[in-house]
């Protein structure tokens, strides 16, 4: 990534308003969900259920489908349409078994050599005690790892909220696209505001500071393309949105299915390795290389005067006090 030089200033009122409007559109209750888009984009789709270990998590759906007659595997987060379906789908926040179901379907795609298409739309992985007990972190980590090494092409489309690790767990791709009003963030704006501003009502400010809109994500190099939404936005035109998403998926698959497996994996690896801002400076490690001379070694052993003591790592990097509470990660 080229270095983006920005002056670190608190977001302007205009930036806050604009970012928050996108967040609300990404969360719009009438926005097309994964199953809506699947029905409009694919010729056929067979939903498969269950992680073969614990249960079926309705917050993630998936199965084989036909795209213009060609087989693909589709996986996506699934939010509900009303209170009842939202409760049964846990508002699209998966438990570990959801990610394990996704992994099972990814392995099937890998086995059959068919491309994988994923739709991201979650506020995040569910954080409750039951999710922890069943290994939420392990499930996300394993999904990410599986995707980085999957030997079939992967297209990722962020259709609504791309919420943190729960989104990335099915979001590692050869190309990552996002709908115009979709968002992608490391933590929810509410969570970020609670930790860094100590005020949940600062969520709009946090949303602007995190630069979580599709356009920002494109500029940061996290995603590869933005899919324009028709008219007022995806919520107002499901068919138009699905047509745009379909065109984008076909375009991307046309590009990446031309690569052989080795080129595909090398390119995917390079894409991930290149993400982030890292500056190489010439600063050396504080520890001097150990002086090997015999005089010094004997001198140190016998504690002779005039022989400099090698500094200890614990003096250079001591154990310290606690971190500031508002500096913790997510």
């Amino acid at each position: 990534m080229s270095e983006i030089v920005l002056s670190a200033e608190a977001p302007t009122a205009e930036a806050i308003e604009s970012a928050w409007r996108r967040v609300q559109l990404a969360r719009h209750p009438q926005r097309p969900r994964t199953l809506d888009l699947i029905a409009l984009i694919f010729d056929d789709f067979a939903e498969l259920h269950g992680d073969r270990s614990f249960r079926d998590d309705p917050a993630i759906v998936g199965g084989p489908a036909l795209l213009e007659g060609r087989p693909v595997m589709v996986i996506g987060h699934q939010k509900g349409k009303d209170t009842e379906s939202n409760i049964s789908r846990n508002f699209g926040s998966p438990y570990p078994e959801g990610f394990r179901k996704a992994q099972r379907l990814m392995r099937l795609a890998d086995k059959l050599g068919i491309p994988l298409v994923t739709f991201l739309d979650t506020a995040g992985a569910f954080p409750g005690p039951a999710a922890e007990e069943r290994g939420q972190a392990e499930a996300i980590a394993s999904s990410i790892k599986l995707m980085t090494g999957l030997q079939v092409p992967i297209v990722v489309v962020i259709i609504g909220e791309g919420g943190s690790g729960g989104a990335l767990a099915i979001g590692v791709g050869d190309e990552v696209l996002a709908l115009e009003n979709a968002t992608y963030s490391v933590i929810s704006p509410e969570g970020c505001a609670a930790i860094l501003w100590r005020a949940p009502e600062s969520a709009p400010t946090a949303a602007a500071a995190m630069r979580m809109t599709a356009a920002d994500q494109l500029e940061l190099g996290v995603i590869d393309g933005v899919i324009e939404e028709p008219g007022e936005g995806a919520h107002a035109d499901h068919a138009g949105t699905a047509a745009a998403v379909k065109q984008a998926i076909l375009g991307t698959l046309g590009r990446i299915t031309r690569l052989d497996t080795e080129a595909l994996l090398t390119t995917r690896y390079a894409r991930l390795r290149g993400i982030g801002l890292v500056r190489e400076t010439e600063v050396a490690s504080p520890q001097l290389p150990q002086e090997p001379s015999l005089r010094r070694r004997i001198g140190r052993l016998l504690r002779l005067p005039g022989v400099p003591r090698r500094p200890r790592w614990s003096e250079i990097w001591p154990s310290g006090e606690d971190a500031d509470a508002n500096e913790e990660g997510a």
């Binding site: 920005l6 670190a8 005690p129």
Partner: protein, 334 residues
């Protein structure tokens, strides 16, 4: 190249200063605490440990050489909350003597070379941004090139919010090299210390071939604040502890600090790097099995049926013992 030794930051531990143990409330002289590996002598509470002391605890004296010390974070988002990100970074550097929340290097454990990454929670909560992710990825890649085991000691609140999704994507950047370590037959040992949560636990830290944890360490996906806010219920005590993870099958063992170095040394001997698949021949190594040694052993016991079922042709090892190379000799065996 400028080498600056930050002796001015050296902490003077005077006998007058003492610490109250948060677990048993006994008063411990700081000097005694440091001598006891920052473990409470009364109740065994493990205080957080900095990178310097961790290196001394785990690695052979003088063996550690830091790599990529000059990697510096920038401010890719121009992030500003209550204060600018760049100011937070500078304050953390002054406070800890570190340039970032993690360092990586190569050292040895009882003569066995390892690529090792270490976190310090005191540097911005050990949070993982682009540079921390880069260091860990390079640590794993060095393990791959040098064919030595990888070890990471985690102590982190998770992904660094101030770098937004660039931090989130470090979960994938640090995990991708592990696929290559798998293919190359190189073990990775993950050590979880207090606290390991969020994006660090949801990536490489949960993917060790062996995962060890320190006693009573807080280990969990969601920070307690996030969880209670979302779930809206009282959280059961200890559900994010090392002990709970052991019970539910997500860590291999809980290892007290005093046992960490011998435990690692033992594991490194029990889990050797696989034979390099480059036709390299070594002789005189009688401890290895050879690439298909286990299978050929089974075939001998059960006749040819097993080898047919498995679909691998079983070769009889030559009588002179010059079988296929099982692994490269370690540094200390040459």
């Amino acid at each position: 190249m400028q080498i600056k030794l930050p002796f001015s930051r050296r902490r003077e531990v005077t006998p007058e200063t003492w610490t109250v143990c948060p677990s048993c409330e006994s008063q411990i002289f700081n000097r005694q605490l440091e001598r006891n590996l920052r473990v409470c002598p009364t109740c065994g509470h493990h205080f957080r440990m900095g990178i310097g002391q961790r290196i001394e605890l785990m690695l052979d004296d003088g063996s550690f050489v830091e790599h990529d010390a000059g990697l510096d974070s920038g401010d890719p988002l121009g992030f500003h909350d209550q204060k600018p990100y760049v100011d937070r970074l500078e304050a953390a550097r002054i406070k800890t003597g570190l340039r970032e929340a993690a360092v990586w290097g190569i050292g040895s454990i009882e003569g066995q070379r390892v690529a090792i990454g270490l976190f310090d929670f005191h540097f911005m909560g050990g949070s993982m941004g682009s540079v921390v992710g880069e260091k860990l990825a390079r640590c794993f890649e060095a393990a791959l090139v040098e064919r030595i085991p990888a070890i990471v000691v985690s102590a982190s609140g998770g992904a660094r919010m101030q770098e937004g999704t660039l931090s989130l994507l470090q979960l994938a950047k640090t995990t991708a090299p592990l696929v290559r370590l798998d293919a190359a037959g190189i073990p990775f040992i993950s050590i979880l210390t207090d606290p390991t949560t969020g994006g660090v636990l949801a990536s490489f830290a949960s993917l060790g071939d062996v995962i060890l944890a320190e006693p009573k360490a807080l280990i969990g996906f969601a920070g307690a604040r996030v969880a209670s806010g979302t779930v809206g219920e009282e959280l059961p005590e200890g559900f994010q502890s090392a002990e709970s993870l052991l019970e539910h099958g997500f860590v291999d063992d809980i290892v007290p600090r005093s046992e960490l170095r011998p435990t690692l040394s033992r594991l490194l001997r029990l889990l050797p790097v696989a034979a390099a698949d480059d036709g390299l021949q070594t002789t005189g190594d009688t401890r290895g099995w050879g690439p298909i040694g286990v299978l050929s052993g089974m075939a001998e016991r059960f006749g040819t049926a097993v080898s047919e079922t498995i679909g691998i042709e079983v070769e009889q090892p030559p009588a002179d013992g010059s079988g296929p190379a099982s692994r490269r000799p370690r540094e200390d065996e040459r």
